[in-house]
């Protein structure tokens, strides 16, 4: 079993993920246990009205308070602050961020860890755009928008990564703290800015191809407002970084 002296804190921000939370935690436990790395899962629920927190409490009862840590907040406060909130309570020296909606599969986490160790990278980012990576559940239009936005960001921002808007990543704890501290944007473009700031700070980034299975339960969000917000932030980052 590949073990090391490190501990991996997996941050799981949730909002109305009552159906997905038990499954994602079951999957995390399955693959982390098999890999042998030390880990903890920190659930940051932003006051979900659907009872996500109660579900999390039940899961804590099953898997133990050392493995499942609950750090709820009163209301929806945004992703950046959710990560900061999670980091404060994290006992690991590496942080893994993953979406709770099952679009990211925890089976890739051991791959992230192995790659990080190989090159002592500051960040390992999952990518849908390279190698064996890909998506499931996207039609032509969605793929075109995604590819177009990605191309534009590559041309304008010169990041050292192929998937800028993905949110399945491993960070060294202090690297994540520093990147968040220098980020100004919120919402959808936050992940993009994180990697741009990482480039500014001179951090090294490696990538693992991942498969992205679009929301099985619930609906995915990509509307006009998201695109406008994306364009605005892209131009802002283009002018300032």
């Amino acid at each position: 079993m590949p073990t090391n002296a490190h501990k991996y804190s997996i941050l799981l921000p949730t909002y109305n993920e009552r159906d997905n939370l038990p499954i994602i935690i079951w999957l995390i436990v399955k693959y982390m246990k098999a890999s042998g790395y030390e880990y903890e899962v920190i659930v940051i629920d932003d006051g979900s009205p659907d009872g996500t927190l109660d579900v999390a409490k039940d899961l804590q009862g099953i898997y133990g308070e050392d493995k499942i840590i609950l750090r709820p907040r009163g209301s929806k406060l945004g992703l950046g602050t959710a990560y900061i909130h999670g980091i404060k309570h994290a006992t690991g020296d590496f942080i893994i961020i993953i979406d709770a909606d099952l679009s990211h599969h925890p089976k890739f986490i051991p791959e992230f860890i192995e790659l990080q160790q190989k090159g002592d990278y500051d960040i390992v980012s999952g990518t849908r755009y390279a190698g064996e990576g890909g998506v499931y559940g996207w039609d032509f239009k969605r793929k075109l928008i995604s590819r177009g936005a990605n191309y534009l960001s590559q041309v304008l921002l010169r990041p050292n990564a192929s998937d800028l808007t993905g949110s399945f990543r491993l960070y060294k704890k202090d690297v994540l703290e520093k990147c968040i501290a220098s980020c100004v944007s919120k919402g959808y473009v936050f992940q993009m800015e994180m990697l741009v700031r990482a480039r500014q700070h001179g951090y090294t980034i490696a990538e693992v191809p991942i498969t992205f299975v679009d929301r099985i339960y619930g609906t995915s969000k990509l509307g006009g407002t998201e695109i406008v917000q994306f364009a605005k932030n892209l131009l802002y980052l283009f002018a300032t970084t």
């Binding site: 009552r18 159906d19 038990p22 499954i23 079951w26 999957l27 009872g51 579900v55 039940d58 899961l59 099953i62 099952l102 599969h105 755009y129 064996e132 990576g133 890909g134 998506v135 499931y136 559940g137 996207w138 032509f140 793929k143 075109l144 995604s146 590819r147 177009g148 990605n150 191309y151 041309v155 304008l156 921002l157 010169r158 498969t211 992205f212 299975v213 099985i216 980052l237 283009f238 002018a239 300032t240 970084t241």
Partner: protein, 94 residues
């Protein structure tokens, strides 16, 4: 240097010799003979860049991996997870 400054820098590197030829400050046999071509150069570059961009985005869209096996695997694991969690005493709310 920000990305914007970098772009402006390259644009200036291009614009200085371009404008000096187009506005007639610099005149040689070569520039007089091909003046129209030189005048149209920015437009040509723009069109080429546009074509390259459209080609790249379309190519990447068509070669974007679909992963039906990943979805299938996940569906199977969801069923397995539900069974196992129920066996562990977990109560699903649906």
């Amino acid at each position: 240097m920000t990305n914007l400054q970098r772009w402006l820098f390259y644009a200036t590197l291009f614009a200085v010799p371009y404008l000096s030829v187009v506005l007639g400050t610099v005149q040689t046999q070569f520039t007089s003979k091909y003046l129209l071509h030189i005048q149209l150069l920015p437009l040509l570059l723009l069109v080429l860049f546009g074509l390259y961009s459209v080609w790249t985005v379309l190519y990447r869209t068509f070669t974007f991996n679909d992963c039906p096996e990943a979805a299938k695997e996940l569906q199977a694991e969801i069923l397995e997870a539900r069974k196992d969690l129920i066996a562990k005493g977990f109560r699903f709310r649906d």
